[in-house]
């Protein structure tokens, strides 16, 4: 079996680190990572608990294929209750620390309670200890990473930590690992900081063994890698342009949310696109993009490593930002760019650097700035509120200064750090918050891509593209093309994407493989690694079980079917241009069918027979 069979339970209140066996019955029902940790969280905490209290738990978890030779098998997730949404949160990250955790011999680390003063976990194979982090508190992610590497004198130490935004209470702070990979959404970093847990430093040298059928596993992973190598998206599009290749496509189909989702096309899109990142700058003749980069075991390598023009106003006298670092991916470029109306590639890259440096989600941040800009232009928010900042759409200065304030929770940055929902409520216009369940939208306007409206409305962690990415079918034609403006069939499409994604997220694999792989490519890899007879059908069933488990958590936390909705703007105000001109999102045509397909009653509650069928 590819699970290590071991969990580390860290009680921050008492300072103990205790090993315990993994519940193997749950592993066969929930696979690993997102599913398995959601099961533990559901069993161990009261869903109504205050997310930032000691009663919440914070789980770092790998999947059975994490750390193996499977392509992209380097993923790990952070699972907790979200302070941003009040829902269950699962944020998935790549980089190297997930594989390192597995190499150290652990499937999962469960943090509970709260430390009296700042600490970090040092994990070296079976040795686990909590060490003081008073000297790290107040440091950025990058400074913390450097300090821990220096202290332990181990360049191969893998580190995940929170930055100053999380310490300052930003509700969408993430956990950053390996300097610029992020468990980015839903404020999982805020929970980590609330426990006085600054960092987790891991060194694992044991290797990942325990494969059920080693020869079969080598054959299955090799065959699957060939599928990625033969597919134009995973072998050419993503390594060359990254996810940013989407900027022009989504703009072309008129689904590019612009200026707080008032419009659906951005005139500056081509200036901040994946193609633009390859173009030589006028000042020094060098492109924004330095190279692509891969996470552990990945044969796609979509990561962006970028530089900023040294003469740009944001970094003119700041040589610390002149080096290469994690560059823009599509969602960040959209939120920081199109949604705020800013098409200055260097400014966006600078803000992206700050998001990595101090660990806050560029999607929620960009969308919150966009809401602030709309409130400001309406005259509701004034310079008195913003500390003198002129929050106008298109202002790179306003955007970059907002990021500098949010990264440490200074001045108006404290308010921006609470997210768009709380900001818009405070200034009397809750309808201007482009959120579902309190979480900000990603980069696809559901008026132009109807299925995404249903995916957003029903996502178990609030507005999110990674819970059911029907864009793949509706725009890109993967696995087959559907019409983005049609609602028929979308309920089934959304459910199928949601269930399959939950399974992939629980395996230790990256969701980007699914632009080439189907469950038919994934099942043989899991089955060769793990006991349990892992077929495509079983994976789909496990995905559905996970989806319902998350739903049950949210219902118990106090959410209802009424929360499965979209902002009025998307349901009432028609798109102003493009193929969707005159259209709104027709959620009401899709939601009842979706509930029925899910086996839920009309109020969105799983029926008794659904629960029984899934063993919940």
């Amino acid at each position: 079996m590819a699970w290590t069979g071991k969990i580390l339970r860290v009680d921050l209140s008492s300072g103990t680190c205790i090993a315990e066996p993994l519940n193997m019955e749950w592993a066969t029902q929930y696979l690993g990572q997102r599913g398995l940790a959601s099961k533990y969280l559901s069993e161990e905490i009261d869903p109504t608990v205050d997310a930032l209290s000691a009663g919440n738990k914070f789980i770092m978890v790998t999947g059975p294929l994490t750390g193996t030779m499977a392509s992209t098998g380097g993923r790990y997730s952070v699972v907790t209750k979200s302070p941003l949404t009040g829902t269950i949160a699962c944020s998935n990250s790549g980089g190297f620390i997930g594989a390192e955790m597995k190499n150290a011999g652990w499937d999962m680390i469960i943090f509970e309670g709260k430390a009296d003063s700042p600490v970090y976990l040092y994990l070296e194979n079976e040795k686990a200890e909590l060490l003081p982090a008073d000297d790290l508190w107040g440091l950025s992610v990058w400074a913390t990473d450097e300090a821990l590497h220096r202290k332990h004198q181990d360049p191969q130490l893998r580190i995940a930590c929170v930055g100053r935004s999380a310490e300052a209470g930003c509700l969408y702070a993430g956990v950053i690992n390996d300097l610029h990979r992020a468990a980015g959404r839903s404020g999982v970093g805020t929970v980590m900081a609330s426990k006085n847990l600054k960092a987790v430093a891991v060194r694992g040298t044991r290797g990942v063994g325990n494969i059920k059928d080693p020869v079969g596993f080598m054959q299955a992973t090799e065959a699957a890698k060939q599928v990625l190598a033969d597919n134009a998206v995973t072998s050419q599009g993503l390594p060359t342009y990254g996810t940013q290749v989407l900027m022009n496509v989504i703009n072309e189909v008129g689904a590019m949310p612009t200026r707080n989702m008032r419009e659906v096309r951005f005139e500056g899109a081509s200036n901040i696109s994946g193609e633009a990142m390859h173009e030589p700058r006028k000042s020094d003749g060098k492109p924004n993009l330095v190279t692509n980069a891969a996470c552990f075991g990945c044969t796609i390598a979509c990561g962006r490593i970028s530089t900023i023009d040294k003469g740009h106003f944001t970094v003119k006298n700041k040589p610390e930002y002149w080096g290469a670092s994690g560059g823009l991916e599509y969602e960040a470029a959209w939120a920081l760019g199109s949604d705020t109306g800013v098409d200055d590639l260097d400014a966006l890259t600078y803000v992206n650097f700050l998001c990595n440096e101090d660990g806050f989600d560029p999607i929620s941040f960009g969308a919150t700035v966009a809401a602030a800009m709309e409130l400001f232009e309406m005259g509701v928010l004034t310079e008195k509120d913003t500390g003198g900042l002129e929050m106008r759409f298109g202002s790179a200065e306003a955007l970059t200064r907002s990021a500098e304030l949010t990264m440490t929770g200074e001045g108006f940055g404290k308010e921006l750090g609470l997210g768009s929902k709380r900001l818009c409520e405070k200034y009397g216009h809750p309808e201007l918050s482009m959120t579902v369940k309190g979480q900000e939208f990603p980069a696809y306007d559901p008026r132009g891509i109807q299925g995404m409206g249903l995916a957003y409305a029903t996502s178990n962690r609030g507005a999110c593209h990674l819970r059911g990415y029907t864009v793949s079918s509706e725009v890109m034609g993967i696995p087959e093309k559907t019409d983005p403006l049609v609602t028929d069939g979308k309920a089934g499409l959304v459910k199928a994407f949601q269930d399959a994604t939950a399974a992939v997220d629980s395996a230790g694999l990256c969701i980007f493989t699914t632009f080439a792989w189907t469950l038919a490519d994934i099942a043989p890899q899991i089955d060769a690694a793990c006991e349990g007879g892992w077929t495509m059908e079983k994976l789909a069933e496990v995905g559905e079980r996970i989806w319902n488990l998350e739903r049950d958590f949210n219902l118990a936390a106090g959410l209802t079917g009424k929360d499965d909705t979209l902002p009025k703007r998307l349901l009432k105000d028609a798109a102003n241009t493009g193929p969707a001109q005159g259209r709104v999102n027709e959620l009401d045509k899709m939601l009842p069918e979706y509930y029925e397909l899910r086996g839920w009653n009309v109020e969105g509650v799983p029926t008794e027979s659904t629960r029984q069928r899934l063993g919940l």
């Binding site: 134009a232 599009g237 022009n248 725009v475």
Partner: protein, 86 residues
């Protein structure tokens, strides 16, 4: 037969197939009435396997309709290779 103007937009790895003197991603073309996306793909020698997504004014044109759908004056024809992200 009347001449019409259409805008050809090529992205990602297809950008290099734009005629000399084009903008970053687009060129304005004079074409005869009745011209189809397939005819333009042929004229600019776009590798067929890279013409994954074809849009006229943002609306997808499937592979079977590329040599049947006639462009109209002022149309925007955008073509993308296989791409995805998220």
């Amino acid at each position: 037969m009347h001449a019409m103007k259409v805008t050809l937009k090529l992205y990602a790895s297809l950008t290099r197939y734009l005629p000399p003197g084009s903008g970053r991603h687009e060129a304005e073309l004079d074409v005869a009435e009745g011209t189809t996306p397939a005819a333009i793909i042929d004229r600019y020698k776009l590798p067929l396997e890279l013409t994954h997504l074809v849009f006229i004014n943002g609306v997808f044109v499937d592979r079977e309709s590329r040599d049947e759908t006639e462009l109209r004056d002022g149309d925007q024809l955008a073509i993308f290779p296989p791409v995805a992200g998220g």
